[in-house]
Symmetry: C2
Subunit: 150 residues, 2 copies
């Protein structure tokens, strides 16, 4: 059997760890960068979708976002057409830190991919996207309380 997921796990934990350390100087605590980046890229997104996107528990996302709001990095806006949802937007302060987050992410990608040709990178990226799409299905299935059989 292959051990693709094991490699992926190692890479993900390592880079998450690096990012968390590096973003401390922006007063961002563990995990916060994940949410802030996506809110900057997709202003107006709601909490529920964000959690799905990041693949994190809804309640974890709720608290991370609440904290970002408290820090004045994002704001929640009620939607007049739908009283249930709260759209998320970066504040000016949030927009200010975004370039730093982006630069860090780009740098990490760059070092991660060191020694790979453009073509190899492209191949890797395409394959990963396919894997991710496979994963999404299982994740939602299990998260909803269903049981996989194997």
């Amino acid at each position: 059997m292959s051990e693709v997921l094991r490699e992926i796990g190692m890479i993900a934990r390592a880079f998450d760890s690096i990012s968390n350390i590096e973003f401390k100087e922006l007063e961002l605590t563990k995990g916060q960068y994940l949410y802030l980046v996506r809110i900057c890229e997709q202003p107006g997104i709601i909490q529920e979708k964000l959690a799905e996107m990041i693949k994190v528990d809804r309640t974890t996302a709720a608290r991370a976002i609440a904290k970002l709001e408290l820090q004045g990095l994002i704001e929640k806006r009620s939607d007049p057409d739908n009283r249930k949802i709260k759209k998320l937007y970066p504040t000016a302060k949030g927009e200010e830190v975004y370039p730093f987050l982006k630069r860090e992410a780009d740098y990490s990608d760059q070092t991660a991919l060191a020694g790979l040709s453009d073509e190899e990178i492209e191949t890797l990226y395409k394959l990963l996207k396919r894997v991710r799409r496979n994963v999404e299905q299982d994740w939602e299935y299990v998260k909803k309380g269903n049981k996989r059989s194997y």
Copy 2:
């Protein structure tokens, strides 16, 4: 810029989440499976190396391992030649659960890789191993308190 690491993060979180849910029926709490699997595969490994391998903080590993010991799934053995280290071994009970962990991991790999040809899987695996090796260097560098410049 590519977004390879973002894809990797999504996949890793999704599968970690799935595994944690599925292993609850074995009385394994969050993250424990990671350690137990590797101790079964490399009996005699020490805590420090295990943390490096998994890419998790030393103290996190320490507590996860302490708990596995408390649950009677692994045991720590002192080494007569080196009074500092403690080698880790699965107990009979630990060995018993291993096949379940393995089966789950294999199944997850299988679903993750659904629709990819054997050749694509091989390519992906090889590329990921290269990425992981790149990552290891940065991780250790940053973990030791050094600063990356970008």
